[in-house]
Amino acid sequence: MATSLESSPTMTNDILIFAEQRNDKLHPAALQIVTPAKALAAKTGGQVVACVIGDTVDAAVGAIDRAGVQAIVTVRDAALANYSALRYRTALAAVIAKRQPRVVLLPATFMGRDLAPRVAARTQAGLATDVVELKIGEDGALDVRRPVYNGKAFCHVAFPKDRLAIASVRPNTFPAASGPGGAPRENLPYAATPGDERINIQEVARAGGEIKDVTEADVIVSGGRALKNEDNFRLLFELAKELDAAVGASRAACDAGYQPHSRQVGLTGKTVTPVLYIACGISGAIQHLAGMRGSKVIVAINTDKEAPIFKLADYGIVGDLFKVVPALTAEVRRLKG
């Protein structure tokens, strides 16, 4: 049953961050959430405490230490080698019970989105997901800002006072933090809750080989139905390779079978927030804009100068993608020497 933290007399002013790792590789978003955590801790007068859950996590612990956190709590166990919603909620709730933070931040990644609601329900906290701004309000409670209606509006979320506040933070919203390192470390044993073994991970299948997933890439080259067929996406893959980018696609292109739905960016696809998004032959239907409008810099290449994508684009080229994209690839390659 849930562990009550409500009105806990022992609640500290600390900010706990969930430092997500897979295969001992820290997720880049974990370094980013330390940045708002430090700002919150400066206001509450508490410490930034990192929590690393897994089996072998030495490299991940080293990486989060260099973000300048003030303490690191690990939960290491062979049973935690792969992510399981049940085992990880048990582990994270145990760290929360031990450290009694005032605020818990997770990255709004696949893992963070899956884990945060379970942990919030278990610890009887308040929760806001995918937040882009965080502050401690005048009443001392957390207040955050987040996109709603697929980015067509933003709203604030006020947390109740005297109750644990949990927020997942949208990746690529904050810069990665750095610091001196050398934070004290503590390991908590993994004390399984009966039933934790009910989720049995059979296989983790890497998809797409060396090409990155759209949700973890800093640069995305994306194509629409104007690509005409699967084979023509080769042009985008060539540019993506030069830019170390992922390849995305519109719903129209995925529905037409040019690319798998795992690459679909948009309302019913993936929401992405890369540093650079290059939309090739994408007109900019609301469905698509919902998934990529949070990108930092947007480039549009389209033959139709009235296409809605140009309203959102920082840079636009009105032209034939079959000529422009190879020229871009050649230019990037030339500059790289």
Partner: protein
Amino acid sequence: MKVLVIVRQVPDSTTNIKIRPDKQDIDRAGVKMVVNPFDEFAIEQAVQLREKRQDVTGVTALIVGPAAAGEALRTALAVGCDDGLHLQDPAFDALDELQLAALIATVVKGGGYDLILIGKQEIDLDSGQLGPALAELLDLPHVGAVVKFELAADGKSFVARRRIEGAEEVVQVNLPALVTADKGLCEMRYPSLPNLMKAKKKPVKVMKAADVPGWPAIAGHLGGTKLHTFQPPPERPPGKLLDGEPDQAAKELVRLLREEAKVI
């Protein structure tokens, strides 16, 4: 084996969102409401199980919302759900996602549901909280963002594929369990007019706050967040259109991305 599908009613994705003058919500006047697209995938999966499997004896669709939300429930019944449960009380309007999870958990606990299906997120608030939180409160395992679902022949477990960054996880879970549906699981069939008419005859149980055991204390011990100060998204400064031949335009774009935007 009994299946429960959670349905949300949301503004159509093409709706132009306007913010109320007091900034405390969006302006809902004249907004077209539809079944949450991710919940459609969950509904279709439930209905397909009902059709293909003798051992699936019933699919109940549950919605929390005002009388008008009954329309979304009727869509679920028209495509093949057997009966509906409509939690309808103005007192439920103020609940946040975690409190909604607590409400639903209280109502369905002991209902004998072996499988609960729900969309991975709702496209109005985009929070994605309800599925995993409900699983936690019901002490069920959950598998999130599922793109493929196969029920074992003995009906005691399933294998699901779920998307994670750049990979897919294959997960085996014993029932009872909760699954959240992602795009790719299945597309909901179109509710035909005759079936929409027939759906009006399917049983829908309406529950008020007074019918919920332990209300309102069950929602008082968690969540409690309040939305405020709605704003339009920040305006993007007007972009630069690059002219000229493809080679020239490409060169200029790469220069601007390096020197001005500093992103490559």
